[in-house]
C-alpha cells in the first residue's frame, strides 16, 4: 500500500477472501481410468490383495497376468493390443478413452490458466484500490469495488486471451473435445447399425443426393440469376463510372460524439 490513509478493512478482507476461495478451488484431476499409471497401480494392488478367488481357482491365470504386466505401469486397457474378433470394438473404445484422457488433461491446463487470470486480477485490484485511496478516492461501496474487480479481470483476461500460448491452448482444447465427439460417434454408429436404425452417415448420403437434385431442378427452372460459371472464367466488369481505388475520391465521414 502507498502513503495516505489506510485501505478500508472491508476492501482488504474481500480481496483476501477471494484469494482463499481460489486456493480451495483446485483444477480438475485426470480420471483414474484414463491414466495408465493409476490404473496399473490399482490393478497391481488388486492382484496382491490375497483374495481367495485370485489365489485359488484363478491362481494360474492371474500368475500369468502378473508376469505379463509391463513394469510398474501395469498396462491399462488402453495399451492392450486391439486384435481378435472384438479387436475393432476394443480399438474404438481405446480411441475414445485416449481422447477423453487428452481432453481432461487440456481442460485442467485451461482451468489452471483461468485460475491464474483470477489471481492476477486480484493483484491488479489490490494495486488499483491502493492508487485510488492514495488519490483520496477509495471504493465507497461493495458495488464500486465489484465493478473495479470486473474491470481488472477483463483487463488481465484480454491480455492473456490474446496471447499466442492461450489461443493455442483454446484451440487444442477445442480440438480435443472434437476428437472425443468423433470417437463417440464411431461407437454410436456401430450400435445403430446393430439395431438396424438409420445412422448419421446414411442420412448424410441421402441429404447430399437430395440437395444435388434440388439444386439441379432449381437451376433448370430459375429465371436469370447468378449463373454458375465454369471454374477459371471471371465475370466482366459492368459498364460503370467506377475508378481504381487509387483515384481521388470523396470519403464523407460523420462522427458521433459522446454527450
Amino acid at each position: 500500500m502507498g502513503a495516505g490513509p489506510e485501505r478500508p478493512d472491508w476492501v482488504s478482507q474481500w480481496i483476501q477472501g477471494q484469494r482463499l476461495l481460489l486456493q480451495q478451488w483446485r483444477p480438475g484431476e485426470v480420471s483414474a481410468l484414463s491414466d495408465p499409471a493409476t490404473f496399473g497401480q490399482n490393478l497391481q494392488a488388486f492382484l496382491a490383495s490375497g483374495s481367495p478367488w485370485i489365489e485359488g481357482a484363478g491362481a494360474q491365470i492371474f500368475d500369468l497376468w502378473r508376469t505379463l504386466l509391463p513394469g510398474a505401469g501395469g498396462g491399462a486397457p488402453g495399451e492392450w493390443p486391439a486384435i481378435g474378433p472384438l479387436g475393432q470394438q476394443l480399438g474404438e473404445l481405446q480411441a475414445l478413452n485416449a481422447a477423453v484422457g487428452e481432453y481432461e488433461r487440456l481442460a485442467a491446463e485451461w482451468t489452471a490458466a483461468l485460475t491464474k487470470v483470477h489471481q492476477e486480477a486480484l493483484d491488479l485490484l489490490s494495486r488499483r484500490t491502493a492508487e485510488l485511496e492514495n488519490a483520496g478516492r477509495p471504493p465507497r461501496s461493495a458495488r464500486e469495488l465489484y465493478d473495479l474487480w470486473v474491470d481488472c479481470g477483463e483487463q488481465v483476461y484480454a491480455r492473456v486471451a490474446h496471447s499466442e500460448a492461450h489461443c493455442r491452448l483454446v484451440a487444442d482444447l477445442g480440438n480435443a473435445g472434437i476428437r472425443v465427439m468423433e470417437a463417440r460417434q464411431v461407437l454410436i454408429e456401430r450400435w445403430l447399425k446393430h439395431l438396424d436404425l438409420p445412422t448419421r452417415s446414411e442420412v448424410n448420403s441421402l441429404n447430399l443426393r437430395l440437395g444435388k437434385l434440388e439444386r439441379e431442378v432449381e437451376r433448370l427452372h430459375a429465371p436469370a440469376g447468378i449463373a454458375k460459371r465454369a471454374p477459371g472464367k471471371r465475370a466482366g466488369r459492368p459498364a460503370s463510372s467506377a475508378k481504381t481505388p487509387s483515384d481521388a475520391r470523396r470519403v464523407r465521414s460523420q462522427t458521433t460524439r459522446r454527450k
Partner: protein
C-alpha cells in the same frame, strides 16, 4: 465470484439484510415477469424458401421529429447475420431500428434465415448468398417492378451483402453495411485468433450443424467477467423497475436464442473469412465467380461501432480501401456491437442518418 458483505463497524456496505430483501424482491419480480414479447412491429410474410422467410413491414405514421419526410421510393432489404435472430432490429417499440426506418418513410423488408436442422447441414455460402439472398432480391424487385433494391447488411449479413453486391452490382441501388467485418485479420480480433487453430472440418464432420449454444459460449467468453457475472449482479438493482426488468429479459431472450449454424456454410465462413481472409485478399469465389469488392460502384454507407469488441472498427473500416465507388461514406457510432441497435442514442441517431442518406440517393 460472490460478494462477501462484511458487518464490521467501519463497513461502508449497505445493510446486508436490506440487500437480501432487494434480491428477494428481484427474484419475485423475475418469477412474475411473464413472457416478454419481441418484434412488435406489424409485418407480413411475402416469400418463403426452405427455412427462409421474407417479411415486409407495414408502413407506420411519420416520426414526430421528421414529420415532413418524403418516402424513400426504393425499398430496403435487410440481410441479417446467421448467428443470431433478426428481431434484435425490432426488439421492442422503443428499441427498434426497423421502426425508426419505417417512421422515416423507408419501405423495409427483412430476411429471417430460420433455424437450420439436420437436413440443412450441407447448405453452403453459395446457397445462402447466390440462391436465397438472390431470390429475395428478385422477389422485392418483381414486387415493385424495379431493377434494383437498397440493401442493408448487419454484421455477417453485411459480409454476405458485400459479396452479393460484388457479384450482382446491377441489382443494388445503395448499399449500407452495419458493424460488418471485412478484414478478419486485424490484430484486435480475438475470435479470429481463436478460430485459426480449431479443426473446423472435424467439428462440422462430427457435429453436422454447429450448435448455437457453442457459439454463445464462445461469444460470452470474449468478456467473461462482464457477460457472466456483472450483468447479473446489476439485475438485483434493476429488478425493482418492471420496465427495466422486461428490457433486460428481452435482451436475455435474444442473446440465448441462437440458431444452429448449417455445417457447410459455417465451415466455409470460418475457413474462407476468419482463417484465409479471402474477402480482404480478393481471392474469394462464390458460384464460380470471384467476389471483387472493386465492383462496388454504387453508393456505400459503412456504419461501425467505435467500441465494438466483436467486430473491431478496423475490421469494418478496411472496406474503405476496397471499394471503387465515388460515394463512400462512414458513420461512426459511439457504442458497442449490441448498443448500436438497442441503446437510446442509437434510436435517435441511426434511423434518421440511414433514412436521410438513402433519401438523398433515391
Amino acid at each position: 465470484m460472490a460478494m462477501q458483505p462484511d458487518a464490521s463497524a467501519t463497513d461502508p456496505l449497505p445493510d446486508p439484510a436490506g440487500f437480501g430483501r432487494q434480491v428477494l424482491k428481484g427474484l419475485e419480480a423475475l418469477r412474475t415477469a411473464g413472457e416478454v414479447l419481441t418484434a412488435p412491429t406489424p409485418r407480413d410474410v411475402v416469400h418463403r424458401q426452405d427455412k427462409l422467410v421474407l417479411y415486409r413491414y407495414r408502413p407506420l405514421p411519420a416520426a414526430v421529429d421528421d414529420p415532413g419526410s418524403t418516402p424513400v421510393r426504393t425499398p430496403l432489404l435487410i440481410c441479417y447475420a446467421l448467428v443470431n435472430r433478426p428481431y434484435m432490429l425490432d426488439l421492442q417499440e422503443d428499441r427498434s431500428l426497423i421502426r425508426g426506418l419505417l417512421r422515416r418513410g423507408v419501405d423495409v423488408y427483412l430476411i429471417d434465415w430460420g433455424a437450420p436442422d439436420g437436413a440443412d447441414r450441407f447448405l453452403s455460402l453459395e446457397d445462402y448468398i447466390c440462391r436465397y439472398l438472390d431470390r429475395c432480391v428478385a422477389h422485392v424487385c418483381a414486387s415493385h417492378a424495379i431493377d434494383r433494391v437498397n440493401l442493408l447488411g448487419v454484421c455477417q449479413g453485411g459480409t454476405f451483402s458485400l459479396c452479393y453486391a460484388a457479384l450482382r452490382p446491377e441489382r443494388i441501388h445503395n448499399l449500407v453495411t452495419m458493424v460488418t467485418p471485412v478484414d478478419f485479420h486485424t490484430p484486435d480480433n480475438l475470435l479470429a485468433k481463436w478460430a485459426r487453430g480449431i479443426d473446423i472440418d472435424a467439428l462440422v464432420r462430427v457435429a453436422g450443424n454447429v450448435p448455437g449454444e457453442l457459439l454463445n459460449s464462445v461469444f460470452l467468453s470474449l468478456q467473461p467477467f462482464r457477460q457472466l457475472g456483472q450483468k447479473y449482479v446489476g439485475l438485483a438493482e434493476l429488478a425493482a423497475d418492471p420496465v427495466q426488468l422486461r428490457n433486460f429479459l428481452r435482451m436475455e431472450k435474444w442473446i440465448f436464442d441462437s440458431p444452429d449454424q448449417a455445417g457447410a456454410a459455417f465451415r466455409q465462413f470460418v475457413t474462407w473469412f476468419y482463417r484465409e481472409n479471402r474477402l480482404r485478399a480478393g481471392s474469394l469465389e462464390l458460384g464460380g465467380q470471384r467476389v471483387d469488392l472493386a465492383r462496388l460502384a454504387m453508393p456505400v454507407l459503412n456504419v461501425y461501432a467505435t467500441r465494438d469488441h466483436l467486430v473491431p472498427p478496423a475490421a469494418s473500416l478496411a472496406l474503405r480501401e476496397l471499394v471503387t465507388t465515388e460515394d463512400y461514406n462512414e458513420h461512426a457510432f459511439d457504442g458497442g456491437h449490441i448498443g448500436i441497435y438497442v441503446s437510446g442514442r442509437a434510436q435517435r441517431e441511426l434511423p434518421p442518418a440511414i433514412a436521410g442518406w438513402l433519401r438523398q440517393r433515391d
